[in-house]
Symmetry: D3
Subunit: 69 residues, 6 copies
């Protein structure tokens, strides 16, 4: 029954529908396995964020990627 | 004064500006009516999520829609 | 099927379980009525926030309440 | 590098620190495995929500549990 | 180490990458200065929201802007 | 007018009401200065998270603190 929100950057090679489906399945299974919560109403929402809009350590991911991270 | 975030899928027929305005008005009124919170600084944010990015019960809404849900 | 998160302050007279149930029912019904989304997997989460932790216009709600708002 | 927020109810037998650690490890590993995002700055936040404050299908989890769900 | 999510409207003149970088730097510095939390794993995510999807006081920002606010 | 959510851990010496007020004022001012958004309806919500419930790099902050981080 849990709700999960995943935020990650939209990179030059964005994640595929297959990867999204695998993430949703994987997180839902993990919650069943570890906390025994029924999967039927488990909701997972993936937000893809522009690298200009995602900051780590005070810098945008655009800048971090430009430095080769 | 509350803050409300609504996440729903962006379907083939997306919700219209009129529906969004009605949702925002409706939720704001509901909060006044039930919890007596002044509406002036009530903020409502609607996130429209791709069906590939919204999972229920371990499957994406894209897959659920494909099966006729 | 939508997900809704409501954040409001925990005041001296906190909202009751009955008010929470009415909010959850009201928001779920509103989503059915306005955007025709099936209610079965609609999830509503209410976060009650200390007045020290909720700011409007640059001031905490504790301070605003202290001035009679 | 992603950010993950998990919201689940605080039940009579709350989840343990060990379960929380396993969830955090499991989600972080899943993101490495499926989307190849470096784990170092992956952040996972678990919110435990009172059953009065979590609604599914228009009813609080308190009410659903009372009916034996 | 904190996580910060900023939601603001996408206006006719959207905020620039430079403004986003300045926001991310500014918020990260503020957290170091006020709460002494190390900046290395501080994550800031900016969500730009359509004016139709952002409501204040029961009205969308589209409508508020149309009245000259 | 933006909405800001700050999530940080509740440490042995929790942040004080004065620090919370300074954070709320500081973030609101920063948004005025950088993106020229009127402060009147800017909302800032601070969530204090148990160190067991906050994970970085696959480990809880409880464990990281135990190793002297």
């Amino acid at each position: 029954m849990p709700f999960v929100n995943i935020k990650l950057t939209r990179e030059q090679r964005p994640i595929t529908p297959e990867q999204k489906a695998a993430l949703i399945k994987g997180v839902t299974d993990l919650l069943v396995e570890i906390v025994k919560r029924g999967p039927k109403t488990t909701v997972v929402v993936i937000d893809e964020i522009d690298t200009d809009n995602y900051g780590i350590g005070g810098e945008t991911v655009t800048v971090l990627r430009g430095r080769g991270h």
